[in-house]
């Protein structure tokens, strides 16, 4: 079978195992839903928030952040932990002894991230719309922005996740290494805490990492006009989003290629 056909077969297999793994299902797939529900409920007493004339519900404010968090979790957390586990439990070694190419293997991983991440984002948007009554944008340009930020963000996060999987020394330590990084990023990148309430020095630090840019791109889609005034330089800065994610995509790709081994390297 060709590399592509085998990659497709891997996507089916990987997606099947993703949904059969309770840990992944909760901490990667459902986590943004849980957080969206908690934040919407916790801050509902605040009423509407935002610049005068552009007020929205707190749930509407958190939706783009949770979509961004879902992209980060589906890519970085999911793959970094998953591949580190596969390295230590013998899965990779077994695959490395078969005629499966590394390219097909990674097509399977990235495809799985794509399938599950798309389902997650679609369900978040639907839940926000149907359950929380959030008004969705109607302009086609907004949905075009959504599409490219989503795809670029997801591919970048998948590659960063693959690169990060080389860091944990064992499968057991993988979650302990990866989850704090991912959690910290969510706190400083405008996912859990309102972006405009963070001090500018913290915003500058967050700007070094991809999540801030994904969240910013998603806010540009889902928040009404007037909110851009609360961003850095009072602009959505979509070219900046594209450049920052592009740089991280290349970094992730290079590190993935350099660090990947079917088995741990010889002593």
């Amino acid at each position: 079978m060709s590399t592509i056909a085998l990659g497709a077969s891997r996507i089916g297999y990987e997606t099947k195992t993703y949904f059969r793994s309770p840990d992944t299902l909760f901490f990667t797939f459902l986590f943004p839903f849980v957080m969206l529900a908690i934040f919407s409920a916790a801050f509902s007493a605040q009423g509407e928030v935002g610049p005068p004339g552009s007020e929205i519900t707190i749930a509407a404010y958190y939706l783009p952040g949770m979509i961004a968090a879902g992209i980060l979790l589906s890519g970085v957390q999911n793959l970094a932990v998953d591949i580190a586990m596969e390295k230590s439990n013998g899965t990779l070694k077994r695959l490395g002894g078969t005629p499966l190419s590394a390219t097909s293997y990674f097509l399977g991983k990235i495809g799985q991230v794509f399938v599950t991440g798309t389902m997650q984002a679609a369900l978040l948007v639907l839940a926000g719309w149907l359950v929380l009554g959030i008004e969705l944008p109607t302009e086609p340009e907004k949905w075009f922005t959504f599409a490219w930020v989503f795809v670029l963000g997801l591919v970048t996060c998948a590659l960063v996740g693959i690169a990060l999987s080389a860091v944990p020394r064992s499968g057991k330590s993988a979650a302990a290494v990866v989850i704090p990084i991912v959690l910290l990023l969510q706190f400083i990148s405008g996912v859990y805490l309102q972006w405009n309430m963070l001090p500018s020095w913290l915003q500058d630090i967050a700007s070094l990492f991809p999540l801030k840019w994904i969240a910013q791109g998603m806010r540009s889609v889902f928040l009404p006009e007037g909110w851009e005034a609360l961003e850095q330089n009072e602009s959505w800065n979509l070219p900046g989003v594209a450049i920052a994610l592009g740089i991280w995509l290349v970094v992730g790709l290079v590190l993935s290629r350099v660090t990947f081994r079917w088995i741990r390297r010889d002593a």
């Binding site: 079978m1 195992t17 439990n89 002894g97 078969t98 005629p99 190419s101």
Partner: protein, 295 residues
Amino acid sequence: MTTNDVAVRVRELRKQYGRKTAVDGVSFDISPGETFALLGPNGAGKSTTIEILEGYRSRTGGEVSVLGTDPAKGGLDWKARLGIVLQSAGETGLVTVAEQLKHFAGFYPNPRDVDEVIAAVGLEPQAKTRIAKLSGGQQRRVDVALGIVGRPELLFLDEPTTGFDPEARRHFWQVIRGLKAEGTTILLTTHYLDEAAQLADRAGVIAGGRLVDVGGIDEIGGAGARVPLVRWRDRDGGLREERTQEPGRVVASVVASLGGEPADLEVIRPSLEDIYLQLVRSVDPTAAPEEEVLA
């Protein structure tokens, strides 16, 4: 250099981990269709040797050819001709036996029929069970099934029956005999010497990173190691034994001299295990190469 009449050719293989020498000048050949057992205590260099042949590890020195290819340069086409059963792994097993085999069969150009493979390893009742829910021995059979589903020309079996009950082991031997009959070349490592005696045509014994002996399963250790032992008690109850090529004659003369049936009479032919233990004990891992005990 390499011709088609050897499946595996190893010459002066060396592997160094830092200053420690794990494999120190090992040479052997495996002919096509042959089953070769690599025996040796833990840490002797068996697994390192086998992982070099499988292409997992690089070597420090020597020549290796597996199915005509240097494993260090083996591509996907080469891997498609191998079957590898590693020492047991701890995979998550979220798919069923049939799902896993169907998926792996798809990697190979000319795979075996999945249902036949499942039947061959005796897992038909468990075909729709998730691998995580199987017993250790059943999971091991899945490993074996995954190793043979690609219809390999050369099959590596690294301690395949660890954790099997005696019945499962005998069933497994039948499976391997079936593969042998189809002409599959097999490289086996095992701690069960009766398994090696049952399955292998030839064996090599590794100790301290060196090949101590290599030969037919009924020749290894040399003729001297196979001399039968006659053991009996004489009149005052003392245990006597005599190594002899003519046990019948010795027994006859003992009976004659005792004037009747000797107590606790035994004629013992050294098993492969006895010979192996003798070979391994005779090797001091730090000994100089000249002290090697080659038969």
